[in-house]
């Protein structure tokens, strides 16, 4: 091999070593990008909107657990929802508020939110957080605020930071306790119970509604497409059933699903 050829080969080897260093640098850059991406996903301030509006919407209405309204109301309306479900969000913003204002605030009906987890693990995490907020009397604020700040299902937005921001926006009194309880066995078991109950009722999706009252035989699923449908269902359920009404059915329908069942007395708030 001539000196010239040997020199070129040595130069080539030097460049290949340089390329190896460049490859290493490229891998380091990718690692840094991944760390930056993971950090931005986990952390950061979460801005929550709508807290004041929800405070106004629910203010003055008694609640316990995820039950909103007068404990002595003749009619109980149950919403089976998934907090990640966009249609549930639409109902929460456009249909349910009118029902709360006209029928729940007046004491004609109470409304209970029961988790029907259909959109995966993040929905279960969110639902558990709502139940835990309910244990401190802020369940409905949590549910409503979550819907107003809902992200795209399964996109990873249901982070600890997001949930904490919702809890703080919902004015959960003891966030540390909420944080412990949302991971507790009892809360997880309640999620499973309500989801199994919804499946047992044959509900095909979220949101689904069911109603119980003197005019309904047990807990009856109802079709709801508007606030008028809800109000009409409440009025029908409030009328005593002429024949065949079963007290047992009614009691079964209203059995408590959590520590805060609909038949439990409400604390003075």
């Amino acid at each position: 091999m001539s000196d010239d050829a040997a020199g070129k080969e040595a130069n080539r080897q030097r460049l290949l070593k340089l390329a190896s260093a460049a490859a290493f640098l490229a891998i380091v850059v990718v690692a840094v990008l991944i760390v930056v991406n993971e950090t931005q996903t986990e952390g950061g301030d979460t801005e929550i909107e709508g807290a004041a509006a929800i405070t106004g919407q629910l203010g003055g209405i008694p609640q316990r657990g995820l039950v909103l309204g007068d404990p002595n109301a003749r009619v109980t309306l149950v919403e089976y929802g998934d907090l990640q479900c966009p249609v549930c969000k639409a109902y929460a913003e456009e249909i349910v508020p009118e029902m709360i204002e006209s029928k729940v605030r007046s004491g004609e009906a109470r409304i209970e939110f029961r988790n029907f987890v259909i959109l995966g693990e993040d929905s279960a995490t969110a639902g558990a957080a709502a139940i835990a907020a309910g244990r401190q009397g802020r369940g409905w604020q949590f549910v409503e605020l979550f819907y107003r700040n809902q992200g795209f299902e399964g996109s990873g937005y249901v982070t600890d930071d997001f949930l904490t921001a919702i809890a703080e926006g919902a004015e959960v009194p003891d966030v540390a306790r909420w944080n412990r309880e949302r991971r507790s066995r009892g809360v997880v078991a309640e999620l499973s119970r309500t989801t199994a109950e919804a499946e047992g009722l044959g509900l095909g999706g979220t949101p689904s509604f069911a109603i119980a009252g003197p005019g309904a035989r047990g807990l009856q699923p109802i079709d709801v497409e508007s606030a008028e449908d809800l109000k009409a269902a409440v009025e029908r359920a409030a009328q005593p059933q002429p024949v065949g009404a079963s007290t047992v059915d009614l009691l079964l329908a209203l059995r408590p699903l959590s520590g805060a069942g609909v038949l439990d007395p409400l604390p003075d708030t």
Binding site: L15, A19, A26, Q40, F152, G156
Partner: protein, 143 residues
């Protein structure tokens, strides 16, 4: 087996990088004002990925960063010499590595696949292969 002619590698890389700019530009335009690229076979995969927190890096759209990366790769494919050979290799390796990570996020974290992102990942993989062959076979040799 001998490597393809460097000119051929450059021409194919030029085409792929230009195509990549087009794909990334479409994603940027579609995501403007909170939108999402249209998935060709329907479904909500593209919407879910676009809405994900992973679609931005430090507040900058990942697709916009992609345009910048493809433009640099295009430059490296068009130019001759050892500098572009090594730069093209390092850039393509970076793009390929991050594409693998993004595809992992789609499949296992977001649990949705955006076809446009997948096309970009395939382009980046091919560009990495082309640039690696070009660098190993031709670095230190006359253009």
């Amino acid at each position: 087996m001998s490597a393809p002619a460097e000119g051929t590698l450059q021409r194919v890389a030029t085409f792929l990088a230009a195509f990549g700019i087009g794909v990334a530009a479409y994603i940027v335009i579609a995501e403007a004002d909170g939108g999402a690229p249209a998935c060709l076979a329907g479904g909500s995969g593209c919407e879910r990925v676009a809405a994900s927190s992973h679609s931005e890096l430090l507040g900058i759209s990942v697709a916009l960063i992609g345009i910048f990366g493809y433009a640099l790769l295009l430059g490296a494919a068009l130019l001759r010499g050892d500098g572009p050979r090594m730069a093209g290799f390092a850039l393509a390796l970076t793009g390929f590595g991050y594409s693998v990570y993004l595809t992992y996020l789609e499949l296992f974290m977001i649990e949705a696949v955006c076809q446009w992102c997948l096309v970009s990942a395939v382009l980046m993989t091919l560009l990495f292969a082309l640039n690696a062959v070009r660098m190993v076979a031709y670095v230190g040799r006359p253009s």
